[in-house]
Amino acid sequence: MAYKRNIDRLPIIPAGAKEHNVTCHYCIVGCGYKAYTWPLKTQGTTDSNWSGEDLSKQQGAETAAWYSPSMYNVVKQNGKDVHLVIKPDVDCEVNSGLGSIRGARMAENRRSDITGTQQQRLTDPLVWRYGTWQPTSWDDALDLVARVTARVIDKDNENDLYVSMFDHGGSAGGYENTWGTGKLYFGSMKVKHCRIHNRPAYMSEVHSSRDMGVDELNYNYADYEVTDTIFLVGTNPMECQTNLFLNHMVKGMQNGAKVVISDPRRTVTVDSCEQVAGAENVLHLAIKPGSDVALHNTLFTYIADQGWVDADFIAKSTFQGDVAVPADSAYPASLGSFEAARAACKMSLADGAAATGLTEAQIIQAAEWIAKPKEDGSRRKCVTGYEKGIIWGNDNYRAIGSLLNIALATGNVGREGGGCCRLGGHQEGYYRPSDAHVGRPAPYIDQLIIAGGGKVHHIWANDHYKTTLNAAEFKRVYNRRSNMVKEAMDARAGATREELVDAIVAAINAGGIFSVNVDIIHSQIGQAAHVILPAVEAGEMNLTSMNGERRLRLTEKYMDAPGSAKPDCLIAAGIAQALERVLREEGRDAYADQFKGYDWKTEEDAFMDGYNKGNPEVTYERLRAMGTNGVLEPVKGFADGKLVGTNRLYEDGVFTRHGREDGKALFCMGEWRGWQAAGKAQQQANHRFFINNGRANMNWQNWFLDQGNEFVMDRFPVPFIQINPEDMAELGIKAGDMVEVYNDVGATQALAYPEPTAKRNETFMVFGAPNGAQGNIVNAGVNELILPNYKATWANIRKISDATPASAAVSYKSWEVEL
C-alpha cells in the first residue's frame, strides 16, 4: 500500500501570521513560496484566516487557500515552537503559484523535534573520539581542524590541503556561503587542489560558451512564451525544471511554438510536449548516445547552406576573420569566425544521419523549425535550452560550442524569444575571489586523491561517494586512507591535543588523509570524516541566490538552525579565525595575518563583505522589498524604491563573457570526432547495455533530505533502472527485481522498472542515489578540461534478488499520462 500520512486536517493560518519570502532552495528554477509562522497554541478559523476565503467550503482548483500536509510542520523560531506553512506564491512570476513535488515538501523536510521530521540533520560538531563520533563544542572542533591543517600548509605551499566545495546557490549555498568559503580558500589562501560539488575538478561546466563570449544564462523565462521554436538538448525540464516547463514552456506551446527535443531517450518532457502542443508540433530526435556534435554540426551546415542565418547579426556582433583563439591544452577547439566555423564543422546530411542514427528528413525538419524564415520572410525566433545531456555527455566543449554556433548564426542570442542557455541544476550564487591560480585544465582532484595526493581534506557539502565518477575506486582508496588516521586517533585515545595532532600528522605523512566534513547531514563521505561540522540551509539562515534567468532573491530566515548548526560562511570564518590564532601561536605571524577579516556576526555581514562590495546597490533590505520576484542580474541601479535589473543579456549585441575588448562573439571550430573521453569506445564494445543516467522528478536536487522522507522512499526504495521489457524477459528479470549493474570499473544495484519506450539495450538509471551509486560504474574518462562524462557508460545487468517487500509494493506503470 502506498504511503499515507493519515493527516486529515491542518491548522489554519491565522490572519496576521508572520510572512517570509522564500525561494525554493532545491532546483535552479527557484519557485517563489511564502513561509507563514505563528504561535503553536493558536490558529485561524474557517471564516477568519490569512486567505480571506470561507474555508468551510470546498476550494476550487488552483486555489491559493489550500496547503497540503507536506507544506506544514512545527519548527523552532527564536527558541519557541511555531507552526510553519510553506506554500507556493501565486504572485511570483517564476511559478505563479505552482509547486513542484520537491519544493512543496520544503516544510516537511525541515527538522522538527515535534513532528520528528529530518532527524538526520546534524545538530552539533562531531569529532572522532574513542572509535566513533562524539559531539563537542565549535571551539574544540575548529581548534582540531586548524591545528592539523596548519601543519600541512604554509605561506608558499598550500598544495597538501585539498578542498571540495560547492559553488552553487540555493540549498546551503548562495552568495553568503560561496563568499565565505571563497574568501578562505582563494583569498586568505590560494588553494589549487579543489573541486566542486558534482565534478572532480574546479572548473566551469560550460567553458566553450564563455569562451565564445556568451554567458550561459542569458535570457529570461518569458522568452519561452514568445518564441517560435523551443529547442531542448539533453535536458528534461518537465522533471528537472518543472515549473519553468509548466509555467513558461507550456505557455509558449499554447502560443504556437514548436518543440525540437534532442535526447536518446523518450523522456516525460517529450510526452508532455506532445500533450500540450500536439505530436505534430513536437520533433523528438532520438539520437545515438553521444552524437550531439554530429547533429549540431549537420544542422549548422544545413542552416548556413540554406542561407537561414542572420547576416547582419553575424557581421555586427561576431568576430570577422579566421581563427581568433587557436586550440591548445586549455582550448579543446579553435574559436573564430562564422565562416571559419562553417569550414571546420562542415558535415553533410548523409554523414550527420549516419552518425546520429536519424533520417536526413528528421534533420531537415529540425533545421526548418529552428531557422527557416517564416512565409512572410521574417526571421524565426528560437530559444535553446541544454543541460547535463551534453554538459556531462560526450565532448563537452564541442557539444556546447556547436549548439551555440546555431544560436549565434541565427541571431538568437540577446533577442526576445531567443537565448541559448543551460537549464541548470542548483541555483547560482557565486561570488569569490579569482580562481585563476587553479589553472586550466584544473587538477583532477579525485584521481590525485586516488594516487595518494592530499593530506588534509576540507569538504563542503560534497558527497563524492554518491556523485563522482569512478566512485567505486575512489571509495576504496578514501576509506583506506581516512581509516589510517582514525586508527592513529584511536591508538592515542586519552592523549593531549598536541600528542593527538602529532599522531594524526604521522598518519597522514604515512599516506593517510584527515577529513573535515561540513554538511547538513551525516553524508556517505562523511562516514570517513574525522571532524564533522553542521551547516544550515536557506530558511534556517538568510540566503541570496539567483535562478536560471539570473533572478536574484533573498530567502528570509524563518526558523532556527538545528542545534548549534551554522551558515557555511560563519563556519568558514570560524576556521579562518582558528587558523589565525594557531598560526600566531606558532610564531607564523605573516601567514596568520592573511586570515584576518572574518569578524562576521551574521550571514548578512558576509554578504556585505562579499557580494555587496561588487554590487553596492544590493542590500538585504532592498532585496526583501523586492519579494519573491526579486530582480534580474546584473543589477544596474536603484530607482523609485526598487532595484533595477537586466531583462536579458546582450541586447546590445556586444559579447563580453570571454573578456575580449572587441565585444565580438566567437564561433566554435569543433569537428565531430566520435567518443572523446578515454575508455568510452572500449567500454561500449565490451558491454551490452548503455546505462544512460540522470535525474527523476521526485528526488532531483533533494535526495540527501529525501532519504529521510517516507513519501519518497516509499515510491522508490531503491534507485530504479528503466529497461525495455523484452530485454528484461531475455534476462529473466521481473518488474521490481533487484539487479546488479556491473562493468570493468565497478558495480551498483537498481530496481528494474520496465519501460516500453526504452530502446533495446539502452537503459536509464537514476543518478546520485544514496543506495545505489550510479557513479560506481562510470569510468574515469573526462574531457580535456576535466569535465566528467557520466552519461557515456556501458555495463551488463544481472538479477541478484527478487523484489524486496518494499519494491514489490510499488507501481511499475507507465509515467506517460493517459487522458
Binding site: 486529515d8 505552482l98 506503470k813
Partner: protein, 175 residues
C-alpha cells in the same frame, strides 16, 4: 442543507476552478446521507458513514462517481477485477478514491487500460491498484483513499480517508 443544493455548490465550485467534467462512467453521483460536520478538534476526524452503492451495482473496471465525505468532494468507487491490498468485498477488489489531484485540484479521469487516474492539469497519474500511489507527477502526497466497509447486504459504506483532500483543510468540512 439539502443534498441537491450541495451538488449545485459543488458544480459551481469546480467551474470556478476552471475544471470541467468528472471522472469515470456517467453514473449518478451518490450523496452522503447527511451533512458531515466536524464538531471538535481531534487527531483524526469523525467521518460520516455513507452508503455509496451495493456490490451488485458495480461492474468491473467501470468507476462509479461518488461524493465523499460530502458531495463537494468528488471521487470514484471502483471494482478492479483483481484483489488488491486494501480492497474490500468478496473479491477484495473494491476501492474508492478522491479524484481531485492533490497537486492543484483538477478533476482526474480514469484510464481503464492500466487502471490509473490521470490529471489533465499537469499530467500527474495515480495507480488505483496500489493504494493511489502517484506513478509520476507533482503531487506531494498519494491519492486520498476512502475507507470502505461492506455490510451483510452487500452495501458499500465509506467511513474515512487517509490523506488530506485537495481544497479543504479539514476532510470533514468545519463550520
Amino acid at each position: 442543507m439539502k443534498c441537491n443544493r450541495l451538488v449545485d455548490v459543488g458544480r459551481r465550485q469546480f467551474l470556478r476552478g476552471g475544471v470541467l467534467g468528472v471522472a469515470g462512467a456517467a453514473a449518478a453521483t451518490v450523496l452522503p446521507a447527511g451533512q458531515a460536520q466536524a464538531q471538535t478538534a481531534r487527531a483524526m476526524l469523525d467521518y460520516p458513514s455513507t452508503k455509496l452503492a451495493n456490490i451488485a451495482d458495480l461492474k468491473v473496471n467501470e468507476p462509479m462517481d461518488i461524493g465523499y465525505p460530502d458531495a463537494e468532494s468528488p471521487g470514484i468507487l471502483l471494482k478492479l477485477g483483481t484483489a488488491v491490498e486494501g480492497g474490500v468485498g468478496p473479491d477484495g477488489d473494491i476501492v474508492a478514491y478522491s479524484v481531485l489531484c492533490p497537486h492543484k485540484g483538477f478533476v482526474m479521469s480514469y484510464h481503464g487500460a492500466d487502471k490509473t487516474l490521470n490529471c489533465p492539469g499537469h499530467f500527474s497519474r495515480f495507480d488505483c491498484e496500489k493504494g493511489g500511489q502517484q506513478v509520476w507527477g507533482h503531487a506531494t502526497q498519494n491519492l486520498p483513499q476512502f475507507t470502505l466497509r461492506v455490510d451483510d447486504k452487500g452495501d458499500i459504506h465509506a467511513e474515512g480517508a487517509d490523506e488530506l483532500i485537495y481544497g479543504r483543510l479539514s476532510n470533514v468540512l468545519q463550520g
